[in-house]
């Protein structure tokens, strides 16, 4: 009988001693010695020297980026994509609305209310970037480093956040612009 309780007592004490040690270690843990909180903190990219400067590459395959201010909504990229992971909604606007110019001087005629690229579906064939008349859809980094720095990881906590939304107009903007009354005409 005495033995029985002694056993229980021993197991409890040894367990607590063990727990104490682990707790002591928990507070002693140095910074940088624990799990890296990955998407927030990252290890630096390892040096990789293949004898060429990435700027001299012909192209690079990384993450797609769209300079939405330059996009005219022609949907050529959407049609070129074999897997259909680019989704564009371009709205017609009243004739006189001024949407501005692209950086190469083309007048924008369509309001882009949605420009989503689903990078979970993308197969990095690069077919979408060739037909673009304004060169505004491209892969980041490499020869495009000046336009957009390299982004090859883009890890997220959730799959839905891999659908990158490039359109920057708000719902209010859309309502205001598409239903703009032709007052401007009278002023002119």
């Amino acid at each position: 009988m005495k033995n029985y309780f002694q056993n229980i007592w021993q197991s409890i004490t040894t367990l607590l001693i063990g727990l104490g040690i682990t707790i002591k270690h928990m507070f002693k843990a140095r910074k940088g010695n624990v799990t890296l909180q990955y998407p927030e903190e990252k290890w630096p990219r390892p040096e990789r020297n293949i004898g060429f400067d990435p700027k001299n590459y012909n192209i690079i395959r990384s993450k797609l980026h769209v300079d939405i201010d330059d996009c005219i909504g022609c949907r050529k990229c959407e049609r070129a994509c074999p897997v259909g992971c680019i989704k564009i909604d371009a709205l017609k606007v009243p004739k006189e609305t001024d949407l501005g110019l692209t950086s190469s001087g083309t007048t924008k005629r369509l309001l882009i209310s949605r420009f989503d690229i689903d990078m979970t579906e993308c197969m990095f064939c690069n077919l979408c970037t060739y037909p673009c008349p304004e060169d505004c859809i491209f892969m980041t980094g490499g020869p495009n480093s000046e336009k957009q720095p390299l982004d090859y990881e883009y890890s997220q906590y959730d799959r839905s956040r891999l659908i990158f939304k490039f359109a920057n107009v708000t719902k209010n903007d859309i309502r205001r612009i598409t239903t703009a009354p032709p007052v401007q005409q009278e002023i002119l």
Partner: protein
């Protein structure tokens, strides 16, 4: 006491097995350690290539052909674009022809390096695998600076290639070829002439000439059986008739003609021939030229059909394309060389020991992506 009733045992290898080079299941009936029947079960990697093609335009099919044989993507799209070009009657510029040949031969070396390395791995030699991957890496680097991708390139286009050669490609190529030629000797010393390796592979899994021909086996596997048949030589496509190179065949140096060692040896020798072709192409390539010159505005072949075959690292790769005059092909059928090689497995592996199956399978150099499509 009567006779002991010896029952056959059915053994499953795969679908998840490091030596099946993909997702392949082998149903093996064994009598003791001897194989009495072997049935490959395929289809685990089926990605509806042919159905996809019915809904895509001709250009959009190219990335999908890359994904069929992901080890030699350049060669796969090469065959496809040549077929479409023939259908549309397009003449591509000289420079494009040379660039394509250089890329295809580089990819052939890369593919053979992987085949030899993993074959060694199947037999139990780990070090050569790492050495071969080191050299393969340098070829992939060359591809990376040219077209941004390391494995699936989408580089060959109908009527041209996506990008011209980048600055420094030539010098890097010559440098690589010089060093690689020396490394091949190193491989021979570390793997090809190794006694253990020879014991495991010579005189094992013999594929006689007539069996190879009956099953439609092509490429290095057919040449390993002693048949001198190479489409680059016998039915030259593109500009292969301008280059001087030999067609190595298996002669049974270490065992008998058509054994695993012969198939290995043919691949190793073919790398030498590819080096020769690349050197000649680098010397003769026109320095100027626009690689986008012959790109058609719209890829819309006239009504008709075509069957075109090329020599991929795995063998005779054919494309059968039916066009109905729209921008979408009506049908694209691919004749996969790895499929025919695998179909011969049950014939040549029967009667060998269980431990030889993976050696024989490795020597056939199959890629499941191409078999299942």
């Amino acid at each position: 006491m009567g006779l002991v009733h010896a029952e056959e045992m059915t053994l499953n290898i795969g679908p998840q097995h490091p030596s099946t080079h993909g997702v392949l299941r082998l149903k093996v009936k064994t009598d003791g350690e001897i194989i009495s029947e072997i049935t490959p079960v395929i289809g685990y990697l089926h990605r509806c290539f042919e159905k996809h093609c019915e809904n895509l335009s001709y250009e959009q099919v190219i990335p999908f052909t890359d994904r069929c044989d992901y080890i030699a993507a350049m060669n796969n799209s090469f065959g496809y674009v040549l077929a479409v070009e023939k259908l549309m009657d397009i003449q591509v510029p000289e420079r494009v022809e040379y660039i394509r040949v250089i890329m295809a031969e580089y990819n052939r070396i890369a593919s053979h390096l992987l085949a030899l390395g993993t074959f060694g791995l199947d037999v139990g030699a780990y070090t050569p695998f790492l050495y071969m991957f080191r050299d393969r890496e340098r070829i992939l680097d060359l591809f990376e600076i040219t077209c941004g991708a390391r494995l699936l390139y989408n580089y060959m286009w109908v009527g041209g290639v996506s990008h011209d050669l980048p600055l420094g490609f030539m010098e890097a190529s010559y440098r690589f070829l010089d060093e690689f030629e020396k490394n091949i000797n190193e491989y021979h010393n570390i793997l090809s002439y190794n006694k253990i390796f020879i014991e495991r592979s010579a005189d094992v899994g013999i594929m006689p000439k007539d069996v190879a021909i009956d099953y439609g086996v092509t490429g290095p596997n057919l040449r390993g059986s002693g048949v001198k048949w190479d489409l680059r030589k016998d039915e030259p496509y593109s500009i292969y008739n301008r280059f001087k190179f030999d067609v190595p065949v298996g002669t049974g140096i270490m065992g008998s003609v058509g054994d695993c060692w012969d198939r290995y040896w043919v691949r190793a020798e073919e790398m030498q021939e590819s080096i020769k072709i690349i050197r000649q192409a680098l010397d003769k390539i026109p320095r100027e030229g626009n690689v986008h010159e012959a790109l058609p505005k719209k890829v819309r072949p006239p009504k008709g059909s075509i069957y075109f075959r090329t020599e991929s690292p795995r063998g005779d790769l054919g494309y059968y394309i039916i066009s109905d005059g729209t921008p979408t092909p009506l049908r694209v059928k691919m004749r996969s060389p790895a499929f025919t090689a695998l179909s011969a497995l049950s014939e040549i592996a029967t009667g060998w020991m269980l431990s030889d199956v993976l050696v024989i399978l490795g020597s056939l150099d199959i890629v499941l992506g191409e078999i299942d499509r």
